[in-house]
Subunit: 339 residues, 2 copies
DNA sequence: ATAAATAAGTTAAACGTTTAACTAAATACT
DNA sequence: AGTATTTAGTTAAACGTTTAACTTATTTAT
């Protein structure tokens, strides 16, 4: 039951350890018969190459760091948890291990970088979600590939795996235009966040493309975090201003759910009086009454894409600065008037 | 910026690499002056021992596996996420890396064990939360230490880090006895789960100790998962049966919140008509109206304790079968009548 | 004064891989 | 037939540590 090594396999298959290694790496120099012989021994002995030994000679740790802020990780909506699971899943293919760690959401110059960075025990880093800029600055000193997921800092030195927010906003708004035509509001928070502003851009684009014009009084944006309470308040301001709102596109599901609560509390029928579409497709959307229409973000896929890209960067020994856009999907449930 | 090795340090400090290694391990054989010299070089070169090289010679991976079911990890309440962060935090001390992976919540004999187990790239495993018994059976074949957190399978071959559920149930119930005296109900789900049945045991113990007797009609237990909806339904059954319930001790906060919703919907004033105490102390407790009194479970501490125990087991090369009880704390907020 | 013990290092082998350089046999080319 | 090339493997060094065994110098005991 103790680990068998390459030597045991070599002995059993009657070849040198180099041959075993070449078989493991599927090298062309090995004949079919030898390969089969070795493979049989590997299976019999349940041999797996030692991560440490391999790492030592290749001067790679075989680890990828996955970093996010603690409040993102501890958030009740497991958005980033899904992304992490995606990377972990995909790591199987490329034989990486993923080391997850959190940083302080108020990370500043006095904070230390995660241990695996200081010890250089990773071959690359995946950063999920918005992180403090002082963290990114510290990261700049290091020479491994860094991939940002769901957030791309302005410095275009790194790769990013991003939701196609503009298109998502466009899809949602286009549907609302087709079903209710006019008076479509947008509610959002944390507009500094590129994802949110892109969703707003998609909203504007859809309206302009359809021949309409932007009415700033239908757009309610706050600086604060886009959560349920702020969604509730946004809806209140909106309806106070304009009784005739026919649809709301919320920058995320949390705000949408808050806005729905306001409508319920004030006798506004969903979707008869007012349609609403969210963004993200979180677990509770289906449970809520009426079920919330939304833009589905394939969270796990973002993780797998990030890890695929990482494997590519490492294999080719490049740092990369490309942008991968993850397509989204409009999910129509019960909170929207049918077209 | 590239990694410096033990050789670089040795050269700079004018000693052999063995000396450097001995300094790093704080070995007594090294004089104070040499030690300082070496330490200075280490700092100057920002030297960190290679995880791989160390792992190779020690025949340890330096990794600890952290395993839980996917639905536990993806649950909106980040209970196990907190526990994980605790292990990750404590791992700093013992220089371990933590590899987090999920298993299928319907794990059966056809499922494969996590990769790092098959490849034997971990020195020990921490299992968080209830896992399928077929998973545990498969684990039985391996010879590394295993620690269960927040769930301890009947086979007492492994160590467990567990919430003091009995005492928690007792604390909550004792408070309710003091404040409302009589007609204190218990609602719970998944009674097979040792944690839940222990909470019920604490409830019973408190009542008996106070000279009262157990009224089965005040105890509502379902087999299903103890979530909000089931809490709502449990409260409904309870009040249908007995209008005079003065307090509810819920087996967890989710059920408590559900039960509160039922009371709000039916004009039962909290805490004037009926007090309620939950269990776990989840994030939303404070946000809910009125703020929920509960039993606080120190989640991060469970993680750190598990990792401390793991480091101990590994250092002494034992498998261990001890039980660590984590004390809980009664948190009184607004959902309970004052004593 | 000499032997024994202690202190403070050093040497060298080992851990399990990978891979460049080498070898030996078989095949292809003049 | 003799040389060049291809095929299919082997050899051996290297990766960065740890640690048992060794050395050398100093102190202590007799």
């Amino acid at each position: 039951m103790t680990n068998s090594t390459i030597k045991d396999v070599a002995k059993m298959a009657n070849v040198s350890i180099a041959t075993v290694s070449l078989v493991v790496h599927d090298h062309a120099r090995i004949s079919k018969e030898t390969k089969e012989k070795v493979l049989a021994a590997i299976t019999k002995l349940n041999y797996h190459p030692s991560h440490s030994a391999r790492g030592l000679v290749k001067r790679k740790s075989g680890n990828i760091g996955f970093i996010l802020t603690d409040d993102h990780f501890l958030r009740t909506e497991p958005f980033y948890t899904h992304i992490f699971i995606g990377t972990e899943f995909e790591a199987h293919e490329s034989e990486f291990y993923v080391l997850l760690t959190t940083i302080d959401s108020n990370f500043n110059d006095d904070n230390k970088l995660p241990r695996f960075i200081l010890e250089r025990n990773i071959d690359g880093i995946i950063v999920a979600g918005k992180v403090p800029s002082s963290f990114i600055e510290k990261l700049n000193k290091y020479h491994f590939p860094i991939i940002f997921v769901d957030y791309w800092p302005c410095t275009k030195k790194y790769s990013g795996v991003l939701v196609d927010n503009v298109n998502g906003g466009k899809l949602a708004t286009e549907y609302l235009i087709k079903s209710v035509n006019k008076n479509i509001a947008f509610i959002g928070g944390d507009i500094e966040h590129p994802s949110i502003s892109d969703r707003l851009n998609g909203y504007k684009k859809a309206i302009l493309d359809s021949g309409g014009s932007i009415n700033e009084r239908l757009i309610d944006i706050i600086e604060d975090y886009p959560g349920r309470t702020n969604g509730y308040n946004a809806a209140q301001r909106l309806f106070d201003n304009n009784k005739d709102i026919k649809a709301i596109f919320a920058c995320n599901d949390a705000m949408a759910i808050g806005a729905m609560q306001y409508m319920k509390d004030n006798g506004i029928k969903i979707p008869d009086d007012c349609s609403i579409i969210g963004f993200d497709d979180v677990v509770s959307d289906d449970a809520i009454e009426p079920a919330l229409s939304t833009i589905r973000v394939p969270k796990m896929e973002m993780g797998t894409e990030a890890m695929k890209l990482m494997a590519h960067l490492i294999k080719n020994n490049i740092k990369g600065n490309q942008k991968v856009l993850i397509p989204v999907e409009l999910i129509i449930r019960k909170s929207t008037k049918r077209i």
